[in-house]
């Protein structure tokens, strides 16, 4: 039995409400998308949902005690909390520059976690 449900595309701020017809994980049709990324999102969401993750890691000697970081590509949604545990163990030394790599290879998928800003040393 095909299921019809409404899903919101989160690919861009427009957030189109899409009408999705599927049977299990098999996508039958998508309607209501403004661009082609809508159906692509739904396809992935049904089989391998992923999210960008942003958090912070500790930094020693910086003008703030934390530096913000984010995943360079979306990571599997069910494993977000596993990643957060790994990030909690990291401590950097200031100065830090933007795009500095904090984790090389999240879950063996080649995805990096990088810093999203410079963090100058306190007093410099």
């Amino acid at each position: 039995m095909p299921i019809i449900e409404k899903m919101i595309c989160i690919t861009c701020p427009m957030g189109c409400t899409l009408e999705v017809t599927r049977e299990g994980e098999t996508l039958l049709s998508v309607e209501g998308n403004t661009c082609k990324r809508g159906p692509e999102y739904i396809k992935r969401e049904l089989t391998d949902p992923r999210r960008m993750v942003a958090s912070t890691v500790r930094v020693r000697g910086g003008i703030h005690p934390l530096v913000p970081v984010y995943t360079a590509a979306p990571v599997p949604k069910p494993r977000i909390f596993e990643l957060l545990v790994q990030l909690r163990e990291i401590e950097l030394e200031a100065p830090v520059v933007m795009n500095q790599v904090v984790l090389e290879d999240v879950f063996g998928e080649g995805i990096k976690v990088i810093t999203s800003r410079d963090m100058p040393r306190q007093g410099d």
Partner: protein, 427 residues
């Protein structure tokens, strides 16, 4: 930084968030030699520095960046083009004659003058006093933005069990952020019958983590003496009246308020700038010139934007026009045509525009709708029975800015118009 602080500048920009940064850079690029940015914070970048989540820059850079990265690009550019800036310095007063009074730890009290000023002080959050929640005043009631700064910049958690009042983007984003840091978010309550932030944030911040959103619900009472112990939630009807018998006590130690932003215009008032009671920001023209000659305004100080990309664009326009004003190459007496909020439009920015601009440049009309319309809508500009411009959107929601760009081809019609009435109606 400032090598030697001058007393006179071509352009002084107050507030160094994305609006101010874009304005300063563009002023410099358009012939203003001496440009100074002033910010009370210790760093450039404004509120973006605490917005560590992704979602910034899709329009400007065609990339999905976190707030700090978006800011960093403009900070780097401002430094490259050689803009002076004063940090840890608050602007106390601005006069209509464009005197700027500041005080800061390094410079002490200063009087500066400028040929043109750009106001870009951003916005502030509505607080408990402004929404009148009764009950005692225990610790543990904060605005969502304050909590955001603590968690993301300063590194401490304001509580462990949260209720969030308001479904604005900052509140929803904080719900996810606090969950990431090990807290439990018990509930998000929204007094309106619809979400006030972006629907994508509902999915990726609340649904993803099974956080319950209750529409048409609010906080009736805060319980707790020293510290918040619980809140009493209640359902409301269409007139915001409590519905008796729907009360529910939700145990929590912290209540976050995400109940809206208000443009920060204390300085604008001192400068004699006329404000629009609907936006709570200055009345501006197409170049973001306020009612006071030489004083411009850009970003959230004018009206609260939902996308930083439009803040940057507004900053660029204001910066360019401020440079033109400072270097004496702009039309000082334009024949303005006023804009007017028509059907289902709460307000339109700019409030008036100079049709002659359309011979060289386009003008973006930015507006918010009153009622949500989840169906294709026509955004149209009319003058009496004359249709001047129109476009179709898939839907219109109060939480998302709607825009319509007037172009060169509209010049003749705009020039002849008495007023530009903007409506957003079902197609």
């Amino acid at each position: 930084m400032v090598q030697t602080l001058k007393t006179h500048y071509d352009v002084i920009v107050i507030g160094a968030g994305p609006g101010g940064l874009a304005a300063a850079i563009e002023a410099k690029k358009n012939g203003a030699d001496d440009v100074l940015m002033i910010d009370r914070d210790l760093e450039l970048g404004g509120i973006l520095l605490q917005c560590i989540h992704n979602g910034f820059g899709v329009e400007t850079f065609k990339e999905d960046l976190p707030g700090p990265s978006y800011a960093q690009r403009f900070i780097n550019e401002a430094q490259t083009v050689g803009i002076d800036y004063l940090l840890d310095t608050i602007v106390l007063d601005v006069t209509p004659e464009r005197k700027v009074y500041t005080t800061g730890a390094r410079t002490g009290f200063k009087e500066l003058t400028a040929k043109a000023i750009v106001l870009s002080m951003g916005c502030r959050e509505r607080t408990r006093a402004q929404i009148r929640i009764p009950g005692p005043r225990p610790a543990g009631v904060f605005t969502a933005g304050t909590a955001q700064r603590w968690v993301n910049v300063e590194g401490y958690m304001p509580g462990s069990r949260f209720v969030i009042l308001g479904s604005g983007d900052i509140g929803m984003i904080m719900a996810r952020r606090l969950t990431f840091e090990g807290a439990k978010v018990e509930r998000v309550l929204e007094v309106m019958p619809y979400l006030s932030g972006l629907s994508r944030n509902y999915v990726q911040c609340l649904l993803d983590f099974d956080i319950t959103l209750q529409l048409q619900h609010t906080v009736k009472r805060i319980i707790g003496k020293e510290r918040v112990e619980a809140i009493e939630a209640v359902a409301v009807d269409d007139k915001w009246q409590f519905i008796p018998g729907t009360e529910e006590v939700i145990p929590c130690d912290t209540l976050l308020l995400s109940v809206g932003l208000i443009p920060e215009n204390e300085l604008s008032k001192k400068a004699g700038v006329n404000l629009d009671p609907v936006t709570a920001g200055p009345i501006v023209d197409d170049g973001f010139l306020t009612s006071v000659p030489g004083i411009f305004a850009a970003g959230n100080v004018v009206h609260v934007y939902d996308l930083v990309d439009w803040v940057t664009q507004a900053g660029r326009t204001a910066g360019k026009r401020a440079a033109m004003y400072a270097t004496g190459c702009c039309n000082l007496e334009p024949m303005y045509v006023p804009t007017k909020a028509g059907d289902n439009v709460r307000y339109v920015v700019p409030h008036r525009l100079d049709p002659e601009i359309l011979t060289q440049d386009s003008i973006m009309l930015q507006m918010r709708v009153t009622r949500p319309l989840e169906q294709p809508v026509t955004v149209q500009v009319t003058d009496g029975d004359t249709l001047i411009a129109r476009k179709v959107e898939r839907y219109a929601r109060p939480g998302e800015m709607v825009s319509l760009t007037l172009k060169g081809k509209d010049y003749e019609a705009v020039r002849k118009a008495k007023e530009l009435r903007v409506s957003v109606v079902p197609k």
